[in-house]
């Protein structure tokens, strides 16, 4: 039996959610991340994490996390099948902000590592996590860490959803190339 006061509370809550979310259901974020081609004797695809932070750099939401899904274990690929979650803490900034709080895989976020080149990620305002992202100023953060290589973080500021289309870029110097973000309201 729901009391009348609970019903009032519930409808009030719906109104609140209705105003804070859905502000940008038609809005989009298009991210392109350049994973540089490196002339090294031993190249492994980097682990990459992308997430959103508030202006004060507090964590908001994960967008993508790429890590080795299965251990190859030789030419036949008959490895132990052990996933590469063991090394996720090498994405050191992300690990502290969010990674250590998670269980893996994360639905809609985690996936396999990507080859060198330009990688695209498209997110729409009608789906998580953007559907619940309040209007305001944020950072897009991209972190890459490579086995037997280095680690780098690139931050790009943006406004969500913004009044007009935004195009912002950041540039890494070692493990990341250009990080480009296009936001359309």
């Amino acid at each position: 039996m729901r009391s009348p006061s609970f019903v009032r509370f519930a409808s009030l809550a719906l109104v609140v959610i209705g105003t804070s979310a859905g502000v940008a259901s038609a809005a989009e974020m298009n991210i392109s991340v350049e994973l540089p081609k490196l002339q090294v004797a031993e190249y492994h695809r980097p682990y990459v994490a992308m997430w959103i932070e508030r202006e004060d750099q507090s964590f908001v939401a994960n967008l993508s996390v790429w890590y080795q899904q299965k251990r190859g274990g030789g030419a036949g690929g008959q490895g132990a099948g052990e996933s590469g979650t063991k090394w996720l803490n090498e994405l050191r900034t992300w690990w502290r902000k969010s990674g250590r709080e998670q269980t893996f895989p994360i639905d809609g976020v985690t996936g396999p590592t990507k080859p060198a080149g330009i990688q695209q990620v498209k997110l729409t305002g009608d789906k998580a996590p953007l559907a619940s992202l309040a209007a305001g100023k944020y950072w897009l953060v991209v972190e890459a860490a490579r086995e037997a290589g280095g680690r780098e973080v690139v931050r790009v500021p943006f406004e969500w959803p913004g009044k007009s289309a935004q195009s912002v870029t950041g540039k890494g110097t070692s493990e990341l190339g250009t990080v480009a973000l296009n936001v359309s309201p």
Binding site: K86, L88, N89, R92, W95, R100
Partner: protein, 286 residues
């Protein structure tokens, strides 16, 4: 070190009196010498890593030396070592070995959370003169106090409470093992010990017998002393809440030490107490 040489010399002299006497004498020489050696040098337990992404194995080195963190003097005796898991329960220690310069052991972190590795010693040290006027030192437990001759003169007994710790975390950190036991000098982390990042303030609290300890001097020495000319040690004094706050700038391993001398003994024969605390922490880059 002279005292050790003296005892060993006595022991070798005793060899002539028969092999059993020799064994007893050499054992006495070593037990008498070790606590003083440990006092003058720096004990430490160093984990192979402190932050793991998921449950797995960690190996540890334990040694006593002047130089941090090098194995060049004595291994750490592991007799009173314990590892507590994220739920506060005891965790198995495997592959223990004590070599010439260091001890090693492995721990499997089977569950996510924070683990505490602690070597806790509670012993008595005595100085006395025999009826013949010879000075002697003794180390043992309260049950063995009878070893001190009944006719000994100027008997001075000190209670020693030593705690030597380090922390490791698999996955998400938790704080069950960070709660103090209430015995001796302990570090109560305010900043989680596996969440230390260069350039960010770190706050630690010290407790003596479970209560905040004001005015305790805490020494911090970064590892890697062999590769620099100075110790680069820092000293901090705990405030009225028993707290110190500091910022470490260079990523690496850090050695933290504090000790308190007072007369609050839990053994009535002991008139003074020395409670000491040592820990090793890893500072990660931002």
């Amino acid at each position: 070190m002279n005292r050790i040489h003296e005892r060993v010399a006595q022991a070798i002299a005793a060899r002539k009196a028969g092999s059993r006497a020799f064994r007893v004498a050499i054992a006495f020489a070593l037990t008498a010498a070790l606590p003083y050696a440990a006092e003058a040098h720096r004990p430490f337990i160093v984990p192979s890593e402190t932050v793991l992404a998921r449950p797995g194995w960690v190996t540890f080195d334990g040694a006593v030396s002047n130089d941090l963190f090098y194995f060049n003097h004595q291994p750490l005796r592991l007799d009173n070592l314990q590892v507590l898991g994220p739920d506060g329960g005891l965790v198995e220690i495997t592959n223990s070995n004590t070599g010439r310069f260091r001890s090693t052991f492995d721990v499997q972190l089977q569950k996510p959370g924070t683990y505490k590795v602690a070597l806790v010693n509670n012993s008595l040290n005595a100085q006395y003169e025999t009826a013949a006027g010879e000075r002697r030192r003794w180390r043992g437990t309260v049950e063995r106090l009878g070893d001190i001759p009944a006719d000994a003169k100027n008997v001075q007994i000190t209670q020693q409470q030593q705690r030597n710790e380090t922390f490791v975390t698999a996955g998400k950190p938790n704080d069950v093992v960070l709660k103090p036991t209430g015995v001796g000098l302990e570090l109560v982390p305010v900043t989680h010990p596996n969440d230390l990042v260069a350039g960010e303030p770190i706050t630690f609290k010290f407790h003596l017998d479970g209560k905040p300890a004001q005015g305790v001097e805490v020494e911090v020495v970064p590892g890697g002393t062999r590769w620099r000319d100075k110790q680069n040690d820092s000293k901090y004094t705990t405030d009225q809440d028993g707290q110190i706050t500091m910022t470490w700038t260079t990523p690496g391993l850090y050695w933290v030490e504090a000790d308190v001398r007072d007369d609050k003994t839990s053994v009535k024969q002991a008139k003074s107490r020395r409670a000491s605390y040592v820990a090793v922490f890893e500072l990660l880059p931002p």
